[in-house]
Symmetry: C2
Subunit: 197 residues, 2 copies
DNA sequence: GCCAACCGAACGAACGTTCGGTATCTTTTT
DNA sequence: AAAAAGATACCGAACGTTCGTTCGGTTGGC
């Protein structure tokens, strides 16, 4: 009778389960409305297990944030990779972000909307993170090739991606009646009219 | 010796002081990092006084949120009032919002950026509030007069105001090196190119 | 002398965290 | 190959603190 039983998780898979559960609860109810006991219960692990893998609640949130931001970074870079020019790259980024917003709303909720500085005081604002820097670079490159009108870089970047980010916001607030992806062409069209040469 | 002393506040002025202090602390450290005791101390009032004017911490936050949202509503409506056409109205709204962001960053921080649903579970998302409805209406009117290209209303609204809202975001995160107002013309120009007929 | 407005010490609940103990895996010894 | 020893991973009851809130008492205007 070598039953493997519903053998409780151990090691890395336990760690993953804790992170997954924490993401679900943090994005559903917010960091401060989620206690370590809630995570413990929902993940089916012990308090000690959580504190074995993470130094505390804040460290858990930081580990989660870093992992998700890094995933988003990869997604943005990969989307850009195959594309030439500001329009194509911008479109690819927006398309990928729209996909992520639909496929992993919790991730986007936690990374884009949550006010991290309230529970991760050391963290720089999200706008200075790698993915956002990358977006600004795309626009600046477009400006130096003449594809984009010459203008203030901040304005150009917010003009290209601001509308898309707000559409993602609306999707996460469930304000849209059609699938987010179906707005993609019009969103990109608008954004491009705003900054093209 | 009828010294009026530094006579402690009473009545409505005490209530105002509590609201003001709460706004300062909520926007600086966030709702959950601010205890009622913190507000009590910072405002120089007693616990009982707070609970005399507000049913609890959440009710205090709601009163504050309602007051600020109503102020913002007035600001948007007033800005629109003297203007004719989508471009003029949109520009006036953005200009006023930029001013408010600089003059009352705490208000904008609390109203626009904070995740209210975490501490006011009953509250609808900010995008369904009056000021945002008004912004969408401006765009839709512009579309029916032919000033704005015919397109999906949500896309048009986010295209017109999305860039400006992100610029306000950057200002609140102190990412900009020039005064926010100085970007106004370029922001409006971009937004208008995005949706004009 | 009445009533609303205000006071603040005290309270129970919930939170993040600890820590002595146990289970499981790894290495060493026989 | 089996047993012993050691190390790592996990367990969960319990702890100290802080929080939002209460409530019997006090003040001040009318």
């Amino acid at each position: 009778m070598t039953d493997t039983a519903p053998s409780r998780l151990r090691g890395d898979s336990l760690r993953e389960m804790v992170l997954e559960t924490a993401l679900r609860l943090f994005s559903e109810r917010g960091y401060f409305n989620t206690s370590v006991h809630d995570i413990r219960r929902a993940a089916g692990v012990s308090t000690g297990a959580i504190y074995h893998h993470f130094a505390g609640k804040e460290a858990l949130a930081k580990a989660l944030y870093d992992a998700l931001l890094s995933r988003m970074e990869t997604a943005v870079d990969t989307a850009c990779a195959g594309q030439q020019g500001c329009l194509a790259q911008g479109r690819a980024i927006i398309a990928r972000l729209f996909e992520l917003t639909v496929e992993q709303p919790r991730t986007m909720q936690f990374v884009l909307l949550a006010q991290h500085r309230e529970f991760l005081p050391q963290e720089p604002p999200i706008c200075s993170s790698q993915p956002f820097q990358r977006m600004r670079k795309v626009v600046e490159d477009g400006m130096s090739t003449g594809e984009v009108r010459s203008m203030e870089p901040w304005v150009a970047a917010t003009a290209l991606f601001g509308g898309a980010l707000r559409m993602m916001n609306l999707q996460l607030d469930q304000a849209l009646d059609r699938p987010l992806i179906s707005y993609l062409d019009e969103v990109v069209d608008c954004a491009w009219r705003a900054i093209r040469a």
